[in-house]
């Protein structure tokens, strides 16, 4: 099973993508999509230096993405308000460093995606030693709040999802 389907989630995602692209549930599309979902992950396997991600808790992943979407929506309105009404000189845009515990490359990639999808924060890079994230914040009020939020609301669930640790 593991040899035919190295990553069932990736196969499922590819299958759904194929059906959505064709907007049809005809037998030909169902069949060809199935072939694609099996063959593509096998062919792309050597391109993945860390292997495919293992998702230990799919439900926690959904919950995390839901919370991240709400956060992104809220930040959208905050950033819009700042652009429209605040004086640019009064903005406190700064880089901050956040110590990380997570090592999983897939978890870090998803954290990067979530942080960059949230307006008002941009991920710069992960420093190797000490293991710290450099983050740029559009309007910084309290660096401690950011460290706390990212560590408890994002990093801990991500570690549970990708590294299998209890949250």
């Amino acid at each position: 099973m593991k040899r035919i389907l190295p990553s069932p989630w990736l196969s499922l995602a590819l299958y759904l993508t194929w059906l959505l692209l064709n907007q049809s549930l005809e037998a030909a599309h169902l069949l060809f999509g199935g072939m694609l979902a099996i063959v593509a992950p096998l062919l792309a396997r050597p391109l993945q230096p860390h292997g495919y991600a293992r998702i230990h808790r799919p439900l926690a992943l959904l919950r995390l993405l839901g919370r991240a979407s709400i956060e992104a929506l809220r930040s959208c309105f905050n950033v819009s308000r700042i652009i429209l009404f605040a004086r640019p000189e009064g903005l406190n845009s700064q880089f901050i460093r956040i110590p990380l515990d997570m090592r999983s490359p897939h978890g870090l990639a998803l954290l990067c995606g979530i942080i960059n999808m949230t307006p008002g924060t941009v991920w710069v890079e992960v420093l190797p030693d000490p293991h710290e994230l450099v983050l740029h914040v559009f309007d910084l009020h309290d660096a401690g709040w950011w460290i706390d939020t990212i560590k408890t609301h994002y990093e801990r669930p991500l570690m549970a999802i990708f590294e299998g640790q209890t949250a």
């Binding site: 860390h50 959208c76 652009i83 640019p88 000189e89 890079e125 420093l127």
Partner: protein, 140 residues
Amino acid sequence: MSGMNHWENLPLWAGLPAALLLILGGGIALIGCLGLMRLPHFYQRIHGPAITITLGTSCILIASMLLFSAQATRPVVHELLITLFVLMTAPMVSMLIMRAAVHRELRKPPPNPPRAESAWNVYGDLAQRPSRTPEPPEMP
């Protein structure tokens, strides 16, 4: 206007929210561009278009799903794929642009007097290290 004919029977439940979403999405895109124009520093300007990417595109794509579903009288949801691809590519692009800007700034000496927005504030104590290139993380 024969081209407009197939929109005439559009039900109100789809037309009204779609129009509102288009106005909201367009407004958000405009605010994002305003930010790009008005904000003084590069590190601030990068945050302007981020709202266009998240909320602007979402509003317009939801409006598109509503309109075409109402017109075809079946669910049309392949716009979700656009959302997915935008959500997968946009964060990588903003990270790369930000990194390029930071590395350009770090090639110059730190600003004197120190400035709050400078990347030197967090990179200053790393500058003496022989190599700042991060090693690829180990798989746990």
